[in-house]
């Protein structure tokens, strides 16, 4: 029997929270490498598209200190992943939050939204 596959998407803003600077190529590269490692070893009769889409989406958030609305852009990754790998995806996103200097990463799992927050001890993308 095939594993259940769920569609997930997550957002990575193109600037860091602290300095509002654009991330360097190495950060995006480490994220991509980590995603590929996450899917490594998957096999089975079903051949499905693992990274379904990458696009740039506008967004906004409210700055805590000033209450000001700030507009930004995020890269949205849409992936199809076996349900059994969801926790590994969350672990990856905690590292991504630290690497990309984000308080949290917006993750949608089959349409249900959650905010993946990270602590320093979660580490960084390799």
């Amino acid at each position: 029997m095939s594993e259940r596959v769920v569609e997930c998407s997550f957002l990575i803003p193109i600037v860091g929270d602290t300095d509002r600077k654009r991330h360097k190529p190495i950060a995006w590269r480490m994220l991509q490498d980590a995603i590929h490692r996450l899917f490594k070893g998957l096999s089975g009769p079903e051949r499905f598209l693992l990274v379904k889409d990458v696009d740039l989406v506008p967004g906004s958030y409210t700055e805590e200190a000033t209450g000001r609305r700030v507009h930004d852009e995020s890269r949205r990754y849409t992936v199809a992943i076996p349900e059994a790998r969801l926790e590994s995806l969350r672990a990856l996103l905690r590292k991504a939050a630290n690497t990309f200097d984000q308080k949290c990463v917006h993750l949608s799992v089959a349409g249900t939204v959650e905010l993946v927050t990270a602590k320093r001890e979660d580490g960084y993308l390799e």
């Binding site: 860091g16 360097k24 190529p25 991509q32 889409d53 890269r75 690497t99 200097d101």
Partner: protein, 165 residues
């Protein structure tokens, strides 16, 4: 840049003379796609799917070439910052040692600190950077910003892809 090598933003040369049939086929398609001036994220979405359909993995030189092309588009669009010493350091480590883990183990470098540095969450002192570069057979060079961005332009990469036959 010789026609048989693709040079990345960080100066790493990737041999185009020993590609498999699948890799050549993919890179020819990549060349056509790249010359159509795709956006940063549209290109990322496209090549990732094509790589998977070609049955290739992140071990293929085509993967690193596509990542480099993607970065160039992002820099040109103003969505990705220009590379700094971290990008060069990561590439040198991968090229000379194969993995960060092996580099850290053989050179006695704290892998946690290196991770923080590469994630731009920490800095290396000039002395530490010089020491790491020395271990990698590299030296620190100062380069003008315009020259750096010209070298990282999509147009330069497009010409380099002419080497794919």
């Amino acid at each position: 840049m010789t026609k048989q090598a693709y040079e990345t933003i960080t100066g790493r040369k990737i041999n185009l003379g020993r590609l498999s049939r699948e890799e050549k086929r993919l890179l020819l398609a990549v060349r056509r796609k790249f010359r159509s001036h795709p956006s940063w994220s549209a290109f990322a979405s496209w090549w990732t799917a094509e790589l998977g359909q070609a049955g290739l993995t992140e071990k293929s030189p085509a993967y690193r070439i596509c990542q480099d092309l993607e970065a160039r588009l992002g820099i040109a669009e103003g969505k990705v910052g220009a590379p700094d010493y971290r990008d060069y350091l990561a590439d040198l480590i991968e090229e000379r040692y194969g993995s960060r883990y092996r580099f850290c183990k053989e050179r006695g470098v704290d892998p946690g600190h290196l991770s923080r540095v590469l994630a731009s969450r920490s800095e290396l002192s000039l002395e530490s950077l010089r020491s790491l570069l020395g271990a990698l057979g590299a030296v620190l060079v100062v380069r003008g910003e315009k020259e750096l961005l010209d070298h990282a332009s999509p147009a330069v990469a497009s010409r380099a892809l002419a080497g794919v036959k």
